[in-house]
Amino acid sequence: MKVLIVEDEARLGIFLRQALSEHAHTANWVQTCAEAANALVETKYDLVVLDLNLPDGDGLDLVREWRASGFTEPVLILSARDSLEDRIKGLDVGADDYLPKPFSVEELLAKMRALLRRQSVVKQSLLERNGIRLDLLGHTVHVNDGAIDLTGREYALLEIFMQNGGRVLTRTLISEKIWSSHYDVDTNLLDVYMSRLRAKMEGALGRPVFKTVRGIGYQML
């Protein structure tokens, strides 16, 4: 996948370019609005990662121009501005998602995957992994053909992990999905629900299902 990174801070831009390359993406990095506009004219990109505070303008204006000129590929905004109004403004002008700084590479990759999936594949209604079967339509979970009773929150948690395979999911990402707010990160509410879900799943499967990645989040085995 070909990704354009628009970020004025050189060290961050270089780091992102390298990190995306390591994850089998082709990444190009530019520093200004003008360069970004040129890059899009020259080459076709699958996705744009865009910082808002650019030396020669606001990233939001750039998105507005692109959308007006018929550019339809997903745009992921990367910004230090983390208020709800800023997010809504970003989505209103046509950006597809928003990742607040500081972020983790895992979060960036997860958001990028989600954006590309949204574009291509029809959503599956049945998710299966290592003997766990999750029915998105019926909201039911089966382990080795036996049904497991999960509360709403536990089901939502499990669904996020099933959607993302064996990837590490950050606390911020999980909280945002479940509570549509990352302020819950400040409490240990997520850990509480994780420990409940873990107890139920591991009790049914008889083996470890989740791994805690300290400082970052959780991973489904």
């Binding site: 801070e9 060290r11 961050l12 780091f15 990190a19 505070n53 230090a80 501005r81 983390d82 208020s83 709800l84 109004e85 607040p100 700084k101 500081p102 972020f103 983790s104 590479v105 895992e106 509360t151 709403g152 929150r153 606390r171 509570w179 549509s180 707010s181 302020y183 819950d184 990160v185 400040d186 409490t187 240990n188 509410l189 850990d191 509480v192 629900y193 420990s195 409940r196 300290r214 400082g215 970052i216």
Partner: protein, 470 residues
């Protein structure tokens, strides 16, 4: 005297008092002058009568006895008896003449005075004058009732005028104070309107330089300074978040890369993980400080929607029960009343989560955290009470200040010391208040917030709803 707190009322009052009192003093002086003038008139009348008597007595008056005197004077005194009481006598002898209307009474004598007012039995007040006609003592008195009556009428008219003056001066004073205070009212209205959203508005200042326009100019200068301070805060929020968060991203990304790339000893891994955890904490503190600076600059817009908070509380209670059970505490919750409150769920949830987390941390094992929500009489009130050691009155006052923490911090405490400060900001943005009290039985702490509700008549109260942790 709350009325007197208004300058307009005070001005009116003093104006009316001053003008009425001035008029009253003038009337009083007028009274004195008029009375002495009228009295002087009576004295002159008496004197004229005396001259007439003297003429009737004739030049040989010194030799007359009572009988002849009576003959000579009777006519004069009879004709003047409507007006005058007359008494003529030679002291220490029986030669005397008394006008008939005296009827055996005497004209009162005031020693040492030639003209005086006195009261005569049966005749009321009289004005008496003594004249010298040696060897006779002549006293002529006239009833002064006419003066009394005149003065009484004068007083009545004066009182009526004073009352009218009071009313008129109140009206004039009120009008005057309105006129004088109009620029002040204009200043107040404009200053009231100026908030974070229209800090650039200024009080209109007239070209004339007087005390009030000077005040307006001074206020406008203050608003200038305020505006630039607010702008700085707003810009600081944006700049600080950008300047701080980009390096934070880099530190975090590099730390995670170190973990992923391997080749680290367990001790090094632990050190890097601690770094990442502290970075998250630092990021949280930055976010919270930025939130507070924006909230104080009123740069945060709430998306308030009218809703019944009952459903929202049910959802929150699930999370609270989970949190409490996880650390071996119990959480109970009750909600009563049905109404609509303007609030934004996300923010109120953050307040509740914050207060409940504090309560759980403060509670002893198996302790109970009680959340009571009542809705009614135009108010939504939520109290959260724990069974912990509680706080002293002084500590309860300070608990909402920045970075203030009491009690030993536990290892599970991720708090920055800003949670309650933010909670207070959020509740204030909702137009409510939050405060801490001692628990019901003297132990523990109860944190309560109140948000105004919209009372809609004609809606039935929902029955008490109760959900309980196992």
């Amino acid at each position: 005297m709350t009325m007197m707190r208004s300058i307009g009322v005070r001005l009116t009052f003093w104006y009316a008092l001053a003008s009425t009192v001035t008029l009253a003093i003038l009337f009083l002086v007028g009274y004195q002058l008029l009375e002495s003038r009228l009295t002087h008139g009576l004295d002159q009348l008496n004197e004229a009568e005396f001259r007439q008597l003297k003429a009737h007595l004739g030049p040989d008056y010194k030799t007359l006895n009572s009988k002849i005197m009576d003959d000579r004077l009777r006519d004069v005194s009879e004709s003047g008896s409507v007006l005058f009481y007359i008494s003529i006598e030679i002291p220490n002898s029986d030669v005397r003449f008394n006008s008939r209307n005296l009827k055996g009474r005497h004209i009162p004598d005031v020693k040492g005075k030639r003209a005086y007012s006195a009261t005569m039995p049966g005749a009321g007040e009289v004005r008496a004058d003594e004249f010298l006609l040696p060897p006779f003592d002549v006293a002529i008195a006239t009833s002064s009732r006419s003066i009394r009556d005149g003065m009484r009428e004068y007083t009545d008219v004066c009182l009526a005028l004073l009352a009218a003056m009071l009313v008129v001066s109140l009206a004039i004073g009120l009008g005057l104070s309105r006129l004088i205070l109009r620029p002040v009212r204009l200043i107040r209205e404009t200053a009231n309107r100026i908030g974070s959203d229209n800090l650039s508005e200024r009080i209109p200042v007239s070209d004339v330089s007087d005390e009030i326009s000077d005040l307006a100019r001074l206020l406008n200068q203050t608003f200038d300074r305020l505006e630039s301070a607010f702008d700085q805060v707003r810009r600081f929020s944006d700049e600080a978040s950008h300047e701080l968060k980009t390096p934070l991203s880099l530190i975090r990304l590099h730390a995670e890369k170190m973990l992923r790339d391997g080749d680290l000893s367990p001790v090094q891994i632990e050190a890097v993980v601690v770094q990442i955890e502290e970075l998250a904490r630092l990021n949280q503190i930055i976010d919270e400080l930025l939130f507070l600076s924006r909230a104080e600059a009123k740069a945060i817009g709430l998306k308030l929607a009218y809703d019944d908070p009952g459903k929202f509380l049910d959802v929150f209670a699930q999370d609270a029960v989970a949190l409490a059970e996880h650390s071996g505490r119990r959480f109970t919750y009750s909600h009563a009343g049905c109404d609509e409150v303007a609030f934004e769920e996300k923010w109120i949830r953050q307040v509740l989560l914050n207060v409940v987390t504090n309560a759980i941390n403060a509670s002893p094992r198996a302790g109970r955290i009680v959340m009571t929500s009542t809705l009614g009489a135009g108010l939504w009130r939520v109290s959260i009470e724990d069974e912990g050691p509680g706080l002293t009155g002084d500590q309860r006052e300070r608990i909402f200040e920045r970075f203030v923490r009491f009690g030993a911090p536990s290892s599970s405490d991720r708090g920055s010391g800003l949670g309650l400060t933010i909670s207070r900001s959020i509740i204030q943005l909702h137009g409510g208040r939050i405060f801490a009290e001692a628990g019901t039985e003297g132990c523990g702490l109860r944190v309560t917030f109140e948000i105004p509700a919209r009372t809609r008549p004609g809606r039935r109260r929902a029955p008490l709803r109760q959900s309980r942790a196992a």
